[in-house]
């Protein structure tokens, strides 16, 4: 069953917490991965790989650069999950 928007944000929050140590409650739709959440380009690769596994979605490298905010990633996963 496909994940809902809330479930995706919750899942991304857990992933960002694990990788960057940011509290889960700070991971919100309008937050920028690099500017707000301490996720640099290498760590973003980790976030993407973890999200792919968790939400059964493929996020090609060329699409990763468009995922600036948690909202961008959430929408991408909603639209592409199997």
């Amino acid at each position: 069953m496909a994940a809902t928007q809330d479930e995706i944000v919750e899942g991304l929050a857990e992933i960002v917490n694990e990788i960057a140590g940011i509290p889960v409650e700070d991971v919100k739709l309008d937050k920028s991965f690099t500017d707000d959440l301490d996720v640099d380009s290498l760590s973003m690769v980790e976030v993407v790989v973890a999200a792919e596994e968790r939400f059964d979605v493929k996020i090609p490298d060329e699409d990763v650069k468009n995922l600036k905010t948690v909202g961008d990633a959430t929408k991408y996963i909603l639209d592409h999950q199997a």
Binding site: E18, A20, G21, D38, L42, S43, E46, V49, E52
Partner: protein, 429 residues
Amino acid sequence: MSSTNRTVVVTGIGATTPLGGDAASTWEGLVAGKSGAKPLEQDWAADQAVRIAAPAAVDPSEVIPRPQARRLDRSAQFALIAAREAWKDAGYVGKAGESPAEDGAAHVDPDRLGAVIASGIGGVTTLLDQYDVLKEKGVRRVSPHTVPMLMPNGPSANVGLAVGARAGVHTPVSACASGAEAIGYAIEMIRTGRADVVVAGGTEAAIHPLPIAAFGNMMAMSKNNDDPQGASRPFDTARDGFVLGEGAGVLVLESAEHAAARGARVYAEAVGQGISADSHDIVQPEPEGRGISAALQNLLDRNDLDPAEIVHVNAHATSTPAGDIAELKALRKVLGDDVDHMAVSATKSMTGHLLGGAGGVESVATVLALYHRVAPPTINVENLDPEAEANADIVRGEARKLPVEGRIAALNDSFGFGGHNVVLAFRSV
């Protein structure tokens, strides 16, 4: 900077070792004659010929937050922990050039600050663990942090970033001489005017099934699995190889002028280094210690050091049958009767052998021996090898007081596979 022969001093020390999570607890363990060796209880150890090691007393996961730790090889974690302690101990706060205007915080120009941290093997656990990930979980799961984690200059680069070093960040690699070579390199950086302050030392984290199997198959490690704490026994007739240790030791080295200008506490003078290469065999020590003699002679020729003032030697002495004696023969050959007033200690009897970290940790021990005027013991010497007894005065069993008066100096020997020989000299101030 026109100055080319400046005096270098030690103003900060830090360590995380099998005996303790900082320099003070490590020194306490050394003076008390404690062993950091333990049985290896991991599942992978069951079918190893060597099932003992000396792990860090405080795991770095207890000190470094997980988000930072997951992008640092264990060797870089040890280096950062020891470097932060040394940096703070020297009176510095935060990155050079960015120090808050705190009361008493010392200042160094980042363009005059260097970092030289070495390891013998580099990020071996990262390399092997990520290869396991590749095989078991596929290409996509290999960590994007793998390259900066496994590169041998990772620890020095991370320490350089932490303190804000811009004068140069270097990583000499010479197996078990690496840590000493790093400190020697740092002394030269300051002496020749390239830097005013350098954070220098060695680190290693190689307690992993592959290095244990490989060193074990070389017959280099002790197989005294039934008595871990008695296994590392330099100079004892029953010695059968080293016990692998892990951790890091770091010094803050500083030009004497820079230290004096800021009123820094000075632990000791870093007099200089002597270096040579055996050109004998890739792993076997030259049996008469010819290369070691050349390094000692090089030290005396190039530095203002009188053998009469040397009262202590922190020997390389890893507890291998051939190496321990070759070292003592070389001391006797070059220093003659002066060896009689040198208290020779093999602290690897307690810490195990930290490979590239050894020169760092043993420099910390040597500096503290001068500072406290106490030579740590060599433990586990039940039957002193007659060839050791004939060539040197080994501090056995218990720590020994060094002369309380006057200027005293000490040596720290480090030798590595490949025939690398480094002798560092320190002196009381």
